[in-house]
Structure formats: C-alpha cells, structure tokens
Symmetry: C2
Subunit: 216 residues, 2 copies
Amino acid sequence: MWPGLEALPWRWAGGAALALGLALLVRGRRRRRAPRREVLFFPSPVTCTAALLGEPRPAPCPCPLPHGDSPLARLLRRLLSARRSLELCLFAFSSPQLGRAVQLLHRRGVRVRLVTDADYMALSGSQVGRLRQAGIQVRHDQESGYMHHKFAIVDKKMLITGSLNWTTQAIQNNRENVLIVEDAEYVEPFLAEFERIWEEYNPANYTFFPNKKEQK
Amino acid sequence: MWPGLEALPWRWAGGAALALGLALLVRGRRRRRAPRREVLFFPSPVTCTAALLGEPRPAPCPCPLPHGDSPLARLLRRLLSARRSLELCLFAFSSPQLGRAVQLLHRRGVRVRLVTDADYMALSGSQVGRLRQAGIQVRHDQESGYMHHKFAIVDKKMLITGSLNWTTQAIQNNRENVLIVEDAEYVEPFLAEFERIWEEYNPANYTFFPNKKEQK
C-alpha cells in the first residue's frame, strides 16, 4: 500500500463533514436573516409601473413616463412578492395600479382576501367591484364606525401598513407613510386582527334592517 | 504577621474586580434592552383617564367610568413617558384627552412641535388652537394634497404611528391600529421626515396669493 493511502477515507470523511458544516452554517444564516424594516414616504412621483405589472412576466415599456424607482414601485414590488396568501384590510381602495397588482396575484394562484369599509367600497372609482368580479373574496363592515385600517399581509410574514389609503389621490398628492415590517411582534397581532374582522364580517352574520345603524 | 494576611489585598482587588464586572454586565444588558414593539388596536372602550392626566401627579378618580386598562390609556402612557421632546405630525387632532396629555408635557418642559393639515386644523373641536394658545409651536401645510401622517416621536427614540387620527370618533368607533416602535430603522426616517416637513412648512416660506392652490 502507498504511504498515506490508509488516511484517505478519513480525508473524505473530513471533507464531507466540512461541507455539511458549511451547508448547515449557510442554512442557519439564511434562517437568521434580519427582518426587513423599510419605510416608504409619499407623495410618489408618477412613474411607469407597466413593467412591474406585465403579464405573463415583466417586460420593458416604451411609454414617455419616467421608468425609475418610486415609493409606489417599491410598494408594488413588495406586494408582488406574494407566493401563497395576501390579506388586505383597506379603508379605501381605488388605485388602478394597486388593483391590477392584486388581480395579477389572484391569477397567479395567491389566496387573496379583502376586508373593506362599506361606505367607501361603492364610491366611483373603487376597485372593490372589479376585484369581486375577478373572483376575489371581499367582506365589509356593517358598523357605524369606519373600518379605517390600511394594511396588507404578504405570505403571513410581511406586514405593509401605515397612513396610506390605496387611492391615486393619496399616492400622488398626500404626505403619507408606509412601513414594511417582518418582526413577528407586529405581523402576528395584525394577522389575528385580520382573522377576527374576517370572521366578524362574515355575510352569514349580516343583519338586514332598513335602518340598521340606528337600531344597533 | 498572621498567616494569609498578605493575601488580603488580593482578595479585596478580586472582590472589586468582580463588582466592577457585574456592574458592566448589568450596564451592557441595560444598553441591549430589546426595542419595544407593541401594537394597539381600536376602537377603545371608554375608560377614565383622569388618573393618568392628573396634575401635579396622577391621582385616583372617583368617577363612575371603568378605571381599567384600554388602548387609549396605553397610548396616553407612552406619550406621557416623554422627558425631553415630542414631535407630532397629525392630520386631525381633536381628542380632548390627547390634547390634555400634550399640554401636560408642554407644561413639564418637554419641547413639543406639531405639524398638521391646514384644512382640518380650523374645524370645530380641533385641539390645534388651544395648543397654540398654550404656547406650543404649530406649523401647517399650504398644499393641495393632505398632510395625512398620524405619528408622534417621543424623546427622538420611540415612534407612535398607524391609521389612527387623534379624534374621539376614531378612538371610540373606528377599527384602527397604532404601532409603538423603537427600532432605529423606522424611528430615524420618521424623524428626518418630520424635520423635512417642519422646515418646508416654516411660515417664513408662506406664499400669500388669493388663490394659492391654483397658482402652484
């Protein structure tokens, strides 16, 4: 036998152990990725979002609008990262771009659920009717107070919340903020709040009095 | 010399080093206190907040309202923890309790600055006039869009933000959220946003055209 040959299996074993150790380290690091913490401020400059919203996949757009980054583009990108579920709890929803993003996710097989405010859902320009026609589940309040939340939860892991109603007026003209949050201390209570409201607004529980608000 | 006496200074030195080590450990732990992450959901049940807002110090109140905890009481407690500064950036501010808390902080010597929306500050019930009369600095927009933020920053370290306008309607009747946040990734951009708006709304920069919004 050549000298040193008897050590070969140990070398292989050593190499395998090193590779396994490295793989576990990388996996551990991936698991420990710091939670995303980002803030978007509005008003957002008007930019072309066609590339982001292109089907079947994003494609360049020749339109004359600027094609750079913007708070709206970043918000759309976070939403469009959904792969499994999207919970929406929105006081007002009339932005065509955000409506298109939600429809795109629905067509991709993401489970979308929308809770909204009864007084605002029927206003001209609302996206709610279109989303319902597209087959998305929508529930709304029957209360005298407003359902004033403005949040979304992506894949039960990322919370998108702030002052921004999902309207073109708010996006293009108002001073607004949106937080992107992955810390469980925020995501979990918001998920629980969504499920609580979703059950409470179940149409099976609706009351049908002519002047329901006065009779409460 | 008694046996072992020569070791005494070493024992003292050892004891002192141990005490110093413990003190540094405790200080290090204090410094590393996890950032506060809390969510408040509204509507809030009506509870008595007189004890929290008592002067010169909180005192028990004999009124018939419930005296337990509530989202409003927790929001007030976070605000009243301010010792040096309070930045307020509020679309609508008419809640008497929150107004009283802000006046209390002002009287305690906390530096309070308020940015608000021009269209809402003059509405009946607004706290803005009272806060100005009390000597608090207020600035407002001159824009066609709304100053729609609803956030406060306590001692430049704690951000309080969400969907909640500071009105009794919102507190008692609406579905609303408020996040209490100490992570620098959120607090710092909000502080920068406040300072940006504060400078932009400096009255020295006001324009005085009769139809200013059309002329912009």
